[in-house]
Amino acid sequence: MHDPLPFRDRLRAAGLRFAAVAGAVAVWWAVARAQIWPPVFVPSPGSVWHQFLATSGLTGDGDGWAGYTLGEHLLASLRRMAIGCAYGVGGGIVLGLLIGLVPVLDTVLGPVVTFVRTLPPLAYLSLLVIWFGIDESPKVWLLLLAALPPVAVATADAVRAVPADYVYAARSLGAGRAQIPWRIVLPAAAPEILTGIRVAVGVAYTTVVAAETVNGVPGIGGMIRDAQRYNQTDVVVLGIILIGLSGLFFDALLRYAQRRLTPWRGRA
């Protein structure tokens, strides 16, 4: 849906965002200041900033956290995220296509996917360890398992919503059965698949702490977990903010991709 009279004031948007962020920080500062909740739970912006400086290695007085700088923690987590999401998204698209296109697989695989996507990661973490050890693999697998279902569900549903006439048209134009998924279904379903990917990346993010329960340092999730157990809430909040900001960044990328790749949304 587009505004009937579109008017894009990027400057205004940036201003609004800035105001919103400034407002949020101000509220945070006030809440921390008023000590409505104990400082262990709501640390002040100042102490979080201080932790940022200390752990990022930007100032001399800190040497990171648990032997790694903030950047190293973040990078380690992002690397896992990237691999896990890549496999999860790829697998989700393939599974979703199979389920959406092949009735037999919908009957058999559909329930399997639904079953698997309800399973709580905390319950099967030890299985991942026994299968994949304690290094990168179990973390990547967990992130994969978190990212896959939203994409699979969105893809399967999107496939069912592809106008049958597109498929008929393509078949009449000589596209073989094997080409339909890639040449018709995937592009036609792209908008909803991209929505599914956006959801999936978010879900993967929420799983990063659980994934880094297993030998998770370096890693932002491991850092958060560690800090939380020692009630170093300023570090926890620092980690949360970093996660959120990087999440914002990737979501913005995905939304950009969505706008570029599926410009016909709301107009076709």
């Binding site: 008929y168 048209a169 078949r171 009449s172 134009l173 000589g174 080409q179 592009p187």
Partner: protein, 291 residues
């Protein structure tokens, strides 16, 4: 895929044959009989024009021949084989344009020419691929699997034919209704199918563009021997293009009038005396169909 595809077409054989065909939809809890007891055939190289009141089942009939719908009763044969699925031997122009929104106009038209389809299309392609003639197009056109340059030339010619050369890079949602319809026609013509199924292809066009494209279609048909199935609301169009004209009754659609015509073979069908007579006969049949 009908096996005949790879053998030369026997000119006299029926390209399309329907025997006792009926179709019943189920909607809002009741059966809607769209078509009933249709017996119909089109000789290879013939042009069938189907006329009838709105909602009588013309699109349904076309979709069954295209392989999009299975008849509830009867048999649908195309080139002697029962239709079970859509195929590249049958080019379709839908009543709504149904262009692929993720492709540009050029991309849509080129869709049926992509190399990967080559093997399937070659035999059918030999038929209706030439568009030269009245439109000033020339050359016998290669299809899927042909060199890129050849494919590009073919797309360019089709773009010229339907007058969309200057908007080739636009996406379908950036076109006007008539432009979309023209793009859909070009897309269906591209692979040169043996049988063209057209569902009111010129409805959204102004009178002149419409007439020009009718002329082009007739020229193409005469040159290539492509069989045509044309659904139309225009009695003129039916008389101009149909070597056989069928009038369906209101729902449930049954054939209430059928006639053969040689007008499409004439040099200037619209100028023939028979043209007006045919028009009148069809119009009367349609009038009977509605009431």
């Amino acid at each position: 895929m009908p096996p005949e595809l790879d053998t030369p077409v026997r000119a006299a054989a029926d390209a399309v044959a329907l025997t006792g065909v009926g179709h019943t939809y189920r909607a809002a809890g009741r059966d809607i009989i769209a078509l009933d007891g249709i017996d119909l055939s089109v000789p290879a190289g013939g042009a069938l024009a189907i006329v009838g009141p709105s909602g009588c089942g013309k699109s349904t009939l076309l979709r069954m021949v295209a392989g999009f719908l299975r008849p509830s009763a009867g048999r649908v044969l195309v080139h002697g084989a029962e239709v079970t699925a859509p195929g590249p031997d049958r080019g379709v122009v839908f009543q709504q344009p149904r262009l692929f929104p993720w492709l540009s106009v050029r991309g849509n038209i080129a869709f049926g020419l992509s190399g990967a389809f080559g093997l399937r299309n070659t035999s059918g392609g030999a038929r209706a691929s030439g568009l030269r003639g009245a439109s000033g197009l020339r050359g016998a056109f290669g299809l899927g699997g042909r060199p890129r340059a050849e494919r590009e030339a073919r797309v360019a010619e089709l773009l010229d034919l339907v007058g969309l050369a200057d908007v080739a890079r636009l996406k379908p949602y950036e076109l006007s209704g008539g432009m979309q319809q023209r793009a859909a026609i070009a897309r269906a013509l591209a692979p040169g199918p043996r049988l063209l199924l057209l569902d009111e292809p010129f409805a959204a066009l102004d009178a002149l563009t419409r007439e020009r494209l009718q002329d082009e279609l007739r020229a193409l048909w005469r040159r290539t021997g492509t069989t045509i199935l044309l659904v139309t609301h225009s009695v003129d169009e039916a008389a101009f293009l149909g070597t056989r004209i069928v009038v369906l009754s209101a729902r449930p659609g049954r054939i209430i009038h059928q006639e053969d015509s040689t007008l499409p073979y004439a040099d200037q069908p619209r100028a023939e005396a028979e043209f007006t007579a045919t028009r009148t006969r069809i119009l009367e049949a349609v009038q009977a169909a509605v009431h």
